[in-house]
């Protein structure tokens, strides 16, 4: 009775991703910390504001989004113009802070948009952007099995995050040790420079006074 094949999670509430508003020439940049050799998937959708209806249109063809991704060294990983909705992917090669910038490439839409564009954005790092609807359909899972599968995926995510945390701690420790070393070596260097300049000063003045026949 409980283990039924009811389709429950399908066709439920109309949930959307996080959205924000962007101006015409505005450039919104998101900085994400990404480990190396990781695929990043970004799903986005844009909606134009229609003054006549005083609401956002469900879709806005003709508005292009320029997506630019820079890696931690400032190198451009991705720079493409996409249509008004779609997805972009890139793979990181070095761990660190990647900058994902979005801006609109057209100026035409301000005429009947009132200058506002709504952008839905969902940036997923790694491969936990699971779509449980298709998984349930493909593997013919019941609700209970689907729930257990979701929990397993969540636990896997937690493990991945812990691994990344360990990597962060190691990087942190390396930087701390480097600071420690630098403090030590620069102190020694400064003392040395101080002593050397002192000697040079004394010698120079001694020679000067002897030349002036004062000593």
């Amino acid at each position: 009775m409980l283990i039924k094949g009811t389709v429950f999670f399908h066709g439920t509430v109309n949930v959307q991703a996080l959205y924000f508003h962007i101006g015409e020439t505005e450039r919104k940049c998101f900085i994400e910390e990404i480990p190396d050799e990781t695929m990043v998937i970004g799903n986005y959708k844009t909606q134009l504001f229609d003054k006549n209806v005083n609401d956002y249109l469900p879709s806005s063809p003709g508005v292009g989004m320029h997506v630019e991704v820079k890696d931690p060294d400032g190198k451009l990983l991705l720079s493409k113009v996409y249509s008004s909705e779609g997805r972009f992917t890139f793979t990181s090669h070095t761990p660190g802070e990647h900058v994902i910038c979005l801006y609109s490439n057209s100026t035409k839409w301000s005429m009947f948009a009132g200058g506002k564009l709504r952008v839905h954005l969902d940036i997923q790092v790694g491969e936990h952007a699971n779509d449980y609807q298709t998984i349930a359909e493909k593997d013919k899972l019941t609700e209970l099995q689907l729930r257990v599968r979701q929990l397993l995926d969540q636990v896997e995510q937690i493990t991945k995050e812990q691994n990344y945390q360990r990597y962060r701690e190691e990087r942190f420790r390396q930087t701390s040790e480097s600071t420690n070393q630098r403090v030590l070596w620069w102190s020694i260097a400064q003392t040395l420079i101080l002593t050397l300049t002192g000697f040079w000063q004394m010698r120079h003045l001694k020679g000067f006074f002897e030349a002036k026949k004062l000593v």
Partner: protein
């Protein structure tokens, strides 16, 4: 142009009427709509908020979900300035649910009792010139649907018990208790996720601090070395200058 606008209005009218019904099927092949099937959604990113500007993020949330927002100001465009920022959470009707003013970091967790679009705003209005880099983590645990499902299942089991008055088979008992156990596990996993989110935020803050320390030490040491050398050179030549006696007196007569 006029016909294009008219087409848009027509499209809007049809779609708005379709969307007005609750529990609509999400558009097929629309990847963003499928976030509803996930047990939790989590966003974390760093964003730069300009001086006197505000950045807002909106998210549709269903009943029974838990919204957890954590934020941290990582750096400011000019060093030494205050790292304060305001955080405002607004409900579906625009009412203010929570406001944290003038803090360098903060977190807020709330369980949603009303479905709708919730707005999270970060306001840098207090500073006139300083732009700030803010690290934001938004985690939303969506278990409203699952809870409804459990209620439904429990209701069905009770109804059947009342109707048939039969002893439950072993399988039913196992399945029933499994649902409870899964709920417990899910709660524990949620706690783990929240703790990890906190740890990640603190780790990133500490990382920024350590990196800054590292470069400060180097820069200041180099400057200090230059200052030492310059000071001793300046000293030497100043002392030398003291002994520069002019060979001619102020009235242009040769001095002894």
């Amino acid at each position: 142009m006029g016909s294009v606008v008219q087409t848009y209005i027509f499209l809007v009218a049809t779609v708005v009427s379709a969307l007005a019904q609750p529990d609509t099927q999400p558009a097929q092949g629309d990847p963003l709509m499928k976030t509803g099937s996930r047990p939790y959604v989590s966003y974390d990113f760093t964003i730069q908020i300009r001086a006197r500007a505000e950045e807002c993020f909106h998210q549709y949330t269903s009943v029974g979900s838990i919204i957890n927002v954590e934020y941290e100001v990582l750096s400011a465009s000019s060093r030494g300035r205050s790292y304060d920022i305001d955080f405002i959470l607004r409900g579906p009707t625009g009412q203010m649910m929570k406001r944290i003013s003038g803090e360098e970091d903060g977190s807020y967790k709330v369980t949603i009792t009303r479905e709708g679009v919730y707005t999270m705003c970060f306001d840098n209005g207090a500073s006139k010139f300083t732009a700030k880099n803010v690290y934001i983590e938004i985690t939303i645990i969506q278990r409203g649907e699952w809870r409804k499902y459990i209620e439904m299942q429990r209701g069905e089991v009770e109804a059947e018990e009342d109707a048939e008055e039969e002893v439950e088979t072993a399988l039913d008992t196992v399945a029933d208790s499994m649902v409870d156990k899964i709920e417990t596990i899910a709660d524990l996993i949620d706690d783990m996720i929240f703790k990890q989110v906190s740890t990640r935020r603190i780790a990133i803050k500490d990382w920024y601090l350590v990196i800054q320390n590292n470069s400060y030490v180097q820069q200041w040491s180099i400057i200090q070395c230059i200052v030492i050398v310059a000071a001793s050179v300046f000293q030497t030549f100043f002392v030398r200058r003291l002994f520069n006696i002019k060979t001619v007196t102020p009235t242009q007569k040769p001095r002894a």
